[in-house]
Amino acid sequence: MIRVLDIKLLRDLRRLWPQALAIALVMAAGVATLILGAGAHDSLATTRERYYEANRFADVFAGLTRAPKALQPEIAAIDGVAAAETRIEKIALADLPGMAEPASVLLVSVPDHGEQVLNRVYLRSGRMPSADSGGEALASAGFARAHGLREGSTIRVLINGRQRELRISGTALSPEFVYALGPGALMPDERRYGILYLPEREMSAAYDLEGAFNSVSLRLVRGSNPDKVIAALDRLLDRYGGLGAYPRKDQTSHAFLDAELQQLRAMSRILPPIFLVVSAFLVNMTLTRLIALERERIGLLKAMGYSSLAVVRHYAGFVTLIAVLGIAIGVVAGTWLGAGMTTLYAQFFSFPFLVFSRNPAVYGIAAGATYAAALLGAVKAVREVAWLSPAVAMSPPAPQRYRKVLGGRVELSRYVRQSSVIVIRHLTHWPLRTLSGIFGMALAVAILVGSLWTFGSINLMIDATFRLSDRQDAAITFTSLRPMSALYEARRLPAVMEAEPFRALPVKLRHGPAERRVSLVGKSREASLSRVLDGSLKPVVLPSEGLVISDALARLLRAGIGDEIEVEILEGRRQTVMQPVSAIITGFIGLTAYMNLDAMNRMLMEGAAISGVYLGLDMEARDQLFSVLKETPAASFIALQYAALEKFRETLAQNVTIMISVYAAFAGIIAFGVVYNFARISLSEQGREMASLRVLGFTKAEVSGLLMGELAVVAILAQPLGWLLGYSFALMMAEGFRTELYRVPLVVNREVFAWASLVVFAAAAVSGLVVRRRIDRLDMIEVLKTRE
């Protein structure tokens, strides 16, 4: 049977529906962000794990010049190795119809017969290339899609200086190339870089590597120490031109994917809890004020014989209904958006399948925290009233004893109009209420700042990287080291305006116990295309001695300026030398280390050799250059800056932008919910006063002005605090975003503060207008007939 009290509850809810809905939406925003953020990250992490497991993604990788296949059993016998697979990998230029610039492909051998042991491909269409028919290749799905390649299509590839036509046998995905990144490229670009799997027999024949391999992957026994295995493998491969084995975490594709997931994780672990706390606080604050207005009704219920507990239970029920509504909206929206977002990311990462992970704990925390906050707010408010004697509760609260601001030392009314005096006295009379209003709106501003700052920072990252640092239009990586004369040849190529040499040297840097495998890049001293920037983004002249390393690398190596770093060179004569750190620079992408090219040559005690050139191009004539390069066996990869920039934007647009936009939208909802409730409750508290003023001949605008004035003061005071809080949220996010691959600079532009404030002011204005309609309908006669 429905009790009368329950009917009252439902009617109250109907009476207060706009406010109840606004509170429910704030709750929903908190719940939804937590669920969708955590859901997307957990699902993607689980999917990646399953994918890696199902396709036996390797734990350790190593490249080398050439080793006999007879070495394979020795490698497999290293303590801790569960499986080892050797193969041949080579980069080649591909000539694709309809594409002016040359594309590169990584040719990877697959066993002639039988399955791959490690890094198994996942066939999307067709079949594995047949060793018997010859001339077949399996293409990576992204590359195939970008060029409309399908079973039976052909593709021309410059293999070891010879044009070959390969027939596509099918398309595939691989856990190894979720991100396929060309050498020296900043961003994966599926159009310009792809993977082609060829039977081992053909690869070894084409590259004179019969009975040999130049790449090995290992899978480790669970619980074994990868460092020991890597050390053992490096010892084995040393004689064969080993380039240094590296663990999975340094594998390019994995590292990229990991960086993305880590960013997603940062977004889901930092922002949503803040949202949840913010929404819980706001719900608490709002309900407290809402229920305080019920004072007389509570007194009435008690006078009729309801116990204090029954009254508390009644209002707890009221809050529960709102909370259930809010949590339900939040759960549905969070789950739905989370699934949508996971699917979007899964497509972006081209996972072959998707495992949705729903962590009941996340749902529990989201719902529990929200409900607890709401309930606490209600109980706090009801308690103050429920324990009063009915007679006291039923009579209106004693008239408020106002005080003069600053104890009357300032005669306010002499300087401002009485309506302003009313606003000021109101705000100062309930300092807690005012402060919680300010704090609430400040939080709304803060979560907006905490969401919106990333856009500007990413722009700065792009600007620093593409416009200040790597200003070249293209970078050519040669298939092997070339003498300095290659630079002069490059300068004579069509469309080339400028050319600068570089040498990328695979090295291991050691300082104390810290060790890092990086590519040490030698650049000419007067480099003007590809520059190195200091902390204030000013170009740095590479000192004639020593290493110039990025701040991130310096932190990893725990090295400062002047520290001697052990540099183990992983090619040529493979010597180990000591070099001082001569400068630390700013780098946002990757772990970077530079040297003056002359100093590098001196260090290597070799003649001047370069591994590639940076080019400044006449972009109008670039197609002429591309057609020449397509026929140039010496060039293995051409990195195009504009393409990278596009890709960079695209990648971040896909990843960060989507998530942040969703958060910003939720932040907007929260902002509106807070401000609207603040305005509505203020109206309830002052409705009588306002109606009296209307009677005295104040116009609607003048009376609304009281409320607007209060809103405006609170909103304005909230801004600086909101900016400060928002900045600290941003700081936390930037820390969370920090990975070895990216360092998102913490730059909170003025525009971010302005936008956050604008949204909150807009929410205040809209709330003000909505509430104004109620002020316009105030019943003047009612207020004259009733006591407060």
């Binding site: 009357g408 009677v695 001949g697 003048e702 006669i781 006591r787």
Partner: protein
Amino acid sequence: MDQPVFRVRGLCKTYRTGEVEVQALRGVDFEAWPGEFIVILGPSGSGKSTFLNIIGGLDSATGGDAWFRDHALTRQSEAALTRYRRDHVGFIFQFYNLVPSLTARENVKLVTEIARNPMQPEEALALVGLSARMDHFPAQLSGGEQQRVAIARAIAKRPDVLLCDEPTGALDSKTGIKVLEALAAVAAETKATTLVITHNAAIAAIAGRVVNFANGAIASEQINAVRKKPSEVSW
């Protein structure tokens, strides 16, 4: 003779709440002349408050006409009625309706700031004998004092009419008399046409004219040949 301040002809008011229709006024004819002090008597539900609300510009009529001088109150827009209240009417209510966050002086100032030719707030408060308590907040004043602040607030704008709805309704008789004294004094001082609603017949003795409301219409009127002073009445 002068033009009447109020001229009311056949004034009707019907409230419709849901399915119930209540006829609050059924054709009231009334006139008030400059400087008159009129007490309107009647039991609750007789329509006296509705009448006061309409001529005070707080409510609209459903039939008939009411003029304030040349202004047809029954045909004005809301904004014009606001203007009318602001410029011409002083209200005094049973529950004072002071702004709790403003001191006595500031409550008066609230009105003088928007009036055309107001007196000084201090002057208005002196008229009701509250010079000593000007800087007190409503919560620091007794009920009688609060009502005197309300009177000061109503007359500070030098209104043409002073409309009082049960001004002593919430007060004990001793305090009520003090309030009436203040009211009579300011009415005389400002020559405002004063209408006082009450169901307390004793108060009628201080009026120049007494109008009896019953059942939504004026039942009778009488002129007091001799007006008593407020101090001479009791209830």
